[in-house]
């Protein structure tokens, strides 16, 4: 059974979103997603300052098994990326909801987050796979 923290929001494409306040949202991939991908070997992150639309492919998680696109769950500006992943991509496997975060977005419209899935909704997505 995969861990799905209740306080986060989710996209059906397996990203999670955490509200950090001031319209800033941290994005990562779920425990379920990292488990499907297996050991991470590279993470390609977006440029800080880039403006992205919801659904844009903005990052790539490359594991021993496959290269997988990561989509922006909401629209906004990339304000920070997790540079530690450059040398330690395995952090995405070891701590997907914590130190394995990928990037932070300043939301164009913070209410957009409300339309994402809650933990229960995301569980249903996994169950259907």
């Amino acid at each position: 059974m995969s861990n799905i923290p209740k306080e986060l929001k989710y996209a059906s494409t397996h990203e999670w979103v955490r509200n950090e306040g001031d319209g800033i949202f941290t994005v990562g991939i779920t425990e379920h997603a990292q488990d499907l991908l297996g050991d991470m070997v590279f993470v390609e992150l977006p440029e800080v300052g880039a403006n992205v639309a919801a659904g844009d492919d903005v990052a790539v998680a490359e594991s021993v098994k496959a290269a997988s696109d990561i989509y922006a769950p909401i629209a906004g500006e990339i304000v920070e990326v997790n540079e530690d992943l450059e040398d330690a991509p395995e952090t995405v496997n070891n701590d997907p909801f914590g130190d394995g975060w990928l990037f932070k977005i300043k939301a164009e419209d913070p209410s957009e987050v409300e339309s994402l899935l809650d933990a229960e909704g995301y569980q249903a997505v996994i169950d259907e796979e």
Binding site: G38, D39, V41, F42, E62, V64, A67, E90
Partner: protein, 360 residues
């Protein structure tokens, strides 16, 4: 329902992620396949390879039968226990399977063939055998473990005890010895020292537990694939199949054209191909970010080819691959990765041996 090896429950207990592998429930990893990979390069790891097919060949025609069946020549084998790698080809020179043959006497041999090709192999072997005085006996009740890594010898000694270990102490590569219930061979699929050990099915779990208890890392199919690819060893169905000859799969060294009067299946086709020219299997190295993958297009001097196996190399820290390309290939190639062309170096298809890079 999928086939299970005698170790299925032991895998689940060890936390394995089980996946389907050609009709068998097999462990992909027990957590991190990269950690398992490093364990084999730096210490020791054990793989359950009980799904592989063991076939004993016996009878007064055993030697002439195998000299006709296989592209390599079992007449090279004169020391009891000695092993040989060979392709088993069809008349067109295509590889039906690759296998290891162990020699006991001129009338007794053992073959270890791939599980994915089991039905085709058995049908073919029985078909060819019908013209020879041999008996073909599959041994489905036997289990098999591969214990690999620089500390494999030390670990096996701990588990067997000094007396039982003595007959295999210092055994050279590609040799084997029957020690009580265990058939112990110095073969493997990782590029490290180590053993493949054939054990009665009801005793394999005890050996598995004993090895884990002396600190050997259980390893799954994920690590097995990165290890064999670093070692430049082919995977059947990916790097070669019945439409590919050994000459096009970096297996030319395992085809014994001499003596010239030995007839073997596929010989004529290979001789024609040799004269006409053929594609070859090369190694690719990419030091940029990204991972070379099976199926990617490769553009070389004089034509195009394809990656047959690609991965991230945990030992080297960058991506490596094997690709089949026109023989006109130069020192670099371009690979199409996610719609971009990336320049990579072309090398011999062997990357890591005994824990160390063999790249220039």
């Amino acid at each position: 329902m999928a086939n299970r090896t005698p170790l299925y429950d032991a895998h689940v207990k060890a936390g394995a992620k089980m996946v389907d592998f050609h009709g068998w429930d097999m462990p992909l990893n027990y957590g991190s396949q990269i950690e398992e990979h490093h364990a084999v390069r730096n210490d020791s790891g054990v793989f359950d390879v009980s799904h592989m097919t063991i076939v004993d060949v016996a009878g007064i025609d055993a030697k002439p039968f195998l000299r006709y069946l296989l592209a390599n020549d079992v007449a090279k084998l004169t020391v009891p226990g000695k092993a040989l790698y060979s392709g088993m080809l069809n008349e067109q020179g295509g590889v039906i399977d690759d296998l290891i043959v162990y020699f006991f006497t001129d009338e007794s041999y053992r073959l270890v063939v791939n599980s994915a090709t089991r039905e085709r192999d058995m049908e073919w072997i029985h078909g060819v055998a019908s013209d020879f005085k041999v008996t073909i006996t599959e041994q489905p009740s036997l289990g098999m473990l591969a214990l690999q890594g620089p500390k494999a010898e030390e670990k096996l000694k701990l588990v067997l005890g000094d007396d039982a270990f003595a007959p295999v102490a210092g055994m050279k590569p590609f040799m084997s010895e029957q020690v009580g219930d265990y058939f112990i061979a110095t073969t493997g699929y990782t590029g490290e020292k180590g053993y493949e050990i054939v054990v009665p099915g009801d005793k394999v779990e005890q050996l598995w537990d004993d090895l884990l208890n002396v600190g050997v890392q259980p390893c799954g199919l994920g690590a097995r694939d990165t290890l064999r690819l670093e070692a430049g060893m082919n995977l059947y169905g990916q790097d070669m199949d019945e439409s590919v000859s050994p000459l096009e799969a970096n297996m030319g060294w395992s085809v014994a054209f001499e003596p010239a009067d030995r007839k073997f299946i596929g010989r004529e086709a290979l001789e024609q191909q040799k004269a006409a020219g053929h594609a070859k299997l090369v190694g690719l190295v990419m030091k940029d970010k990204g991972v070379l993958r099976h199926g990617q297009k490769v553009i070389v001097d004089g034509g195009e080819g394809e990656i047959t196996s690609g991965t991230f190399s945990p030992t080297l820290g960058f991506s490596i691959a094997m690709a089949r390309v026109p023989a006109s290939v130069g020192e670099t190639a371009e690979v199409e990765i996610r719609k971009k062309l990336v320049t990579v170096s072309v090398v011999k298809p062997s990357f890591v041996r005994q824990g160390k890079s063999v790249l220039a």
